[in-house]
């Protein structure tokens, strides 16, 4: 179970998160939605310990993990921007992360799935954006961790890879994992999300299922529901 308690974060004068409380207990796909600059990535990074909040606690399995690092053994993370050291080759990077984690992995299977065998011995600096994102996905999914965090996973991917990604996420969900995804793509949310968390101006405005959010805003589709939510709160 993941629980964020009264998380507050500001950069200088800019308040990014304003007392966020969030509990993710069940297995399934939890998506964080929100306009640009609403604090989605910051929230995820606080969960991972990459950003340090001014206030609040991150609790995983009833243990406060702020400032700790061992808990990240249970987390797989896909960062938003896929950029790596230019001079390493793809296979070297993958092997390095495997060596760091010292856990069983399924990199071979994922390399096949995303068809990056031809690039394994190329330097990361020479790869296209989409191929980098595929490498990024291999790194994120290769350990069988209980918690998976994906920050804008579909960025730069071709449609075939997106289909594979969705299949992969479905399989992981069936294994009973907690999957946390931020995205801008509504169709992805409608298709995949078990729970939607709507973040605006550093606060959670809505938490519930796709049906609930539509019912509450009398909308036919999710896009419309989100737009209504935004209008109501900006007015």
């Amino acid at each position: 179970m993941i629980s964020l308690q009264n998380i507050q974060k500001q950069y200088g004068r800019l308040k990014v998160l304003n007392g966020v409380n969030l509990e993710l207990s069940g297995a399934g796909v939890h998506t964080i939605l929100g306009p640009n600059g609403s604090g989605k990535t910051t929230l995820i990074k606080i969960l991972l310990g990459m950003v340090i909040p001014q206030k609040g606690e991150v609790v995983i399995d009833n243990k406060i993990v702020n400032g700790k690092w061992e808990y990240r053994n249970d987390i797989d993370y896909l960062p938003q921007i896929a950029r790596f050291p230019d001079n390493l080759t793809v296979i070297e990077l993958i092997e390095m992360i495997i060596r760091l984690r010292k856990k069983p992995n399924r990199s071979k299977e994922l390399i096949q799935l995303f068809k990056i065998e031809p690039f394994l011995n190329q330097k990361l600096g020479n790869l296209s954006g989409g191929t980098r994102q595929k490498v990024n996905l291999v790194l994120a999914f290769m350990f069988d961790s209980r918690i998976i965090i994906l920050d804008e996973p579909t960025t730069g991917l071709d449609p075939v890879a997106v289909v594979h990604l969705k299949e992969l996420i479905r399989k992981e969900r069936l294994k009973g994992k907690i999957i946390l995804v931020t995205t801008h793509i509504m169709s992805f949310v409608e298709e995949m999300a078990d729970q939607i968390i709507f973040l605006l101006d550093g606060k959670i405005y809505f938490k519930g299922t796709n049906e609930e959010i539509r019912a509450r805003n009398n909308s036919k589709n999710l896009e419309h529901a989100i737009a209504t939510l935004l209008e109501v709160h900006n007015a």
């Binding site: 990459m50 950003v51 690092w69 950029r83 050291p85 001079n87 390493l88 760091l100």
Partner: protein, 260 residues
């Protein structure tokens, strides 16, 4: 940490710039030896270059590497690794690979020239150790500046300013101070002022070792007089090591609080 150190090290060792740096020292070593045709003269010329050049290269590489590997650092931060391990690994990787370029680049020509058979081997070793220490110090200082500055242009600017300060401006201020207060006893002041600048300090270290401290004029004479050669050597080496450890401590402190 060894893992990160290894990868940072190999990442740098494979970049064009490391080769360039290595080739530069190689060429410099050969050129000096064959132009001077004398080991002690070559070593003294090298010393003058190394005390200015290694800090410059350490500073530039440190800043460049830090900013270029930002995304990679983020990738590592999401792994189950302690923050201090990540930064120490990267730091030692850069400083280590730069020091290796220095040691190999200069070592090869001097070995071929027959340094092992001459009496200058100890002095030469000192020169290399001094260059390596300066590399470690200035890479650490560059890391601190880059940790403080999100903006890489700013970080780069400050880093170059820092180098300029220690390599040039500091000495100028020092001289002005000595001139203005020439009627007062300045022995202690100049001693302390020298210790506060790693470049000056390593210059003195090498001069003391080469036993030509008279060349340095006032400060060298003060060092010689106060400590004698052996004590001066020990003290300046010790202070240089402190100069390494102190910035590393600051890096560890900043990296604990920093957001990525």
């Amino acid at each position: 940490m060894l893992n990160i150190l290894r990868y940072s090290f190999f990442d740098l060792m494979r970049s064009r710039w490391s080769y360039f740096y290595f080739a530069f020292y190689l060429a410099l070593g050969f050129a000096l030896l064959f132009l001077n045709n004398s080991l002690p003269k070559a070593i003294i010329t090298l010393m003058n270059l190394i005390v200015v050049l290694t800090p410059l290269i350490g500073t530039i590489f440190g800043v460049m590497y830090f900013y270029n590997s930002r995304e990679f650092t983020e990738l590592l931060l999401a792994q189950p690794i302690k923050r201090s391990t990540i930064f120490m690994g990267q730091y030692l990787g850069i400083a280590g690979s730069l020091s290796m370029s220095l040691v190999l680049g200069l070592g090869i020509p001097f070995l071929l020239y027959g340094i092992l058979l001459s009496g200058e081997i100890i002095n030469f070793m000192f020169l290399l150790i001094d260059g390596a220490l300066l590399t470690f110090i200035f890479v650490a200082l560059a890391f601190i500046l880059s940790l403080y500055n999100e903006n890489r242009i700013k970080g780069f600017g400050y880093a170059i300013l820092m180098w300029l300060f220690f390599a040039v401006i500091y000495d100028g201020l020092f001289l002005i101070f000595l001139l203005v207060f020439e009627n007062y006893p300045l022995d202690k002041f100049s001693l302390i002022a020298t210790m506060l600048n790693p470049i000056d300090l390593s210059r003195i270290l090498v001069l003391l070792k080469l036993d030509i401290s008279a060349l340095l004029g006032y400060t060298g004479a003060v060092f010689q007089q106060f400590f004698g050669t052996a004590m001066g050597l020990f003290l300046s080496t010790f202070t240089l090591i402190l100069w390494c450890l102190f910035p590393v401590g600051i890096i560890l402190r900043i990296c604990k609080k920093k957001d990525f």
